[in-house]
């Protein structure tokens, strides 16, 4: 069993809340629980009472171009789920909060700072036998004035990544070792899922994203354990200009959350183009 969040030595312990905390604040109208999952059937099957769903594919992505939603769509989303700039949003989901941290990261592109992640995610809540229901709540629409999306600080694009590589900057590849080595490229009969080339961006360290969580209950590891992985094993410098990537930027948003908030690294960006972009680009360097 993991120690209380406040005792784990995080730089920003306030970005996490425990399942106990959520249970005590379930009926607080200033808090909105948001479930984001890899499996689209989970939320409709049951969810934390009062929680809304933010679906990565339908809600956070532009339906035409490969990009996230823009200001107007974000404002519409926030209005639909009854969130104001003052509302505290608490993300949780399946797969050790993988998609929850992805949604959290997208919300940060619009500066919604009053945001947290429920430690241990949906699996921990369910395992503890806490209440769940199938009622899809409706909240009064809000007026939410969002700033323009700010991609400059926590998002990296391919040209910046290329310059980063040429300058020998640190990268973290959070995919599985088989993806990192290039052994696994894509599914047979489904080449559009993958890339034309396998391997990794030169210089990238391989730290699979899930190493940051305790396998028994899905909670985040302590700061000391995380430092041992990222600094002790992989030699990352806390004040380095770090870029994390995976296949489409979802798993690396989890690592972005860990490095930025739990370890307090000030300059971490998520390259959401990730391997589905890099592995298809013409004439960029690749290591195997």
């Amino acid at each position: 069993m993991s120690s209380p969040i406040s005792e784990r030595g995080y730089a920003r312990p306030d970005v996490l809340v425990s399942t106990e905390w959520v249970a005590e604040h379930l009926h607080n109208p200033n808090i909105r629980m948001i479930e984001s999952n890899e499996d689209p059937l989970l939320y409709p099957s049951k969810h934390i009472p009062g929680a809304v769903q933010v679906d990565w594919t339908l809600d956070l992505n532009d339906p035409i171009r490969r990009d996230y939603l823009k200001k107007a769509s974000f404002e519409a989303l926030m209005s639909r789920i009854g969130v104001t700039p003052e509302t505290m949003v608490v993300f949780y989901g399946d797969k050790n909060n993988w998609w929850a941290t992805y949604a959290y990261w997208v919300f940060q592109l619009f500066g919604h700072g009053n945001a947290k992640v429920m430690d241990g995610g949906r699996a921990k809540w369910e395992k503890e036998g806490r209440p769940m229901d199938r009622i899809v709540p409706q909240y009064p629409a809000t007026a939410y004035n969002a700033p323009d999306r700010d991609d400059a600080h926590i998002r990296a694009f391919r040209d910046a990544v290329l310059r980063h590589v040429e300058a020998g900057g640190p990268l973290v590849d959070v995919r599985s070792p088989a993806e990192y080595s290039g052994e696994k490229l894509h599914m047979p009969e489904y080449p559009q899922e993958g890339a034309l080339r396998g391997g990794h961006i030169p210089g990238a360290k391989n730290v699979p994203w899930s190493r940051a969580v305790n396998p028994d209950d899905g909670t985040f590891k302590s700061a000391e354990e995380l430092r041992q992985i990222y600094e002790g094993e992989q030699g990352l410098e806390p004040d380095g200009d770090i870029i994390a990537y995976c296949r489409i930027g979802e798993r690396s948003s989890h690592t972005w959350f860990v490095l930025t908030h739990l370890l307090g690294y000030p300059n971490v960006r998520n390259y959401d183009g990730s391997w589905t972009e890099w592995g298809n680009l013409v004439d960029v360097p690749i290591e195997k």
């Binding site: 059937l41 594919t57 899922e193």
Partner: protein, 146 residues
């Protein structure tokens, strides 16, 4: 697309015809609820399962087995280790319930893109790949025997 086995075609057509996303999810959740009926019995496999039984790219840790039947067809069993892997469970139930008695030649050429007819076109890339991985495992069991 090659012709689907008759029973599978019926289920695919039925679910594909549901235009309301929530209604479709409801049907798939009810399907996943029947997963225990297709879960691999201990007489066929016990944990830890052989890695060769793992469906590639499936984030829900799905495993697939085929048991030869007297009439030369296959009976499929599955396990999904992630208890939250409802889509994988629904996929497994649909395959197990519809492929019994189907000629191996047809199973070997199942189109994997039925996942979009079943789960909707908005299915994420990763989720689609995982569900296709389950179908590819089923195909391979038939191909091995042809």
């Amino acid at each position: 697309m090659r012709e689907l086995p008759e029973k599978l075609a019926e289920v695919v057509a039925e679910i594909d015809s549901i235009t309301d996303r929530f209604e479709r999810q409801e049907v798939l959740i009810e399907t996943a609820d029947r997963f225990d009926s297709v879960r691999v019995p201990e007489s066929v496999a016990v944990k830890p399962y052989a890695e060769e039984r793992r469906a590639p790219a499936c984030e829900s840790d799905a495993f697939v087995w085929a048991v030869d039947q007297a009439d030369g067809t296959l009976k499929f069993y599955f396990d999904v280790l992630n208890p939250q892997g409802l889509s994988a469970m629904a996929m497994a139930v649909i395959l197990a319930e519809t492929l019994e008695g189907t000629p191996l030649e047809q199973i070997a050429h199942l189109p994997t893109d039925i996942v979009f007819k079943l789960f909707g076109k908005e299915l994420s890339m990763g989720k689609g790949a995982g569900l296709m991985g389950i179908i590819s495992m089923v195909q391979n069991e038939a191909k091995k025997r042809l």
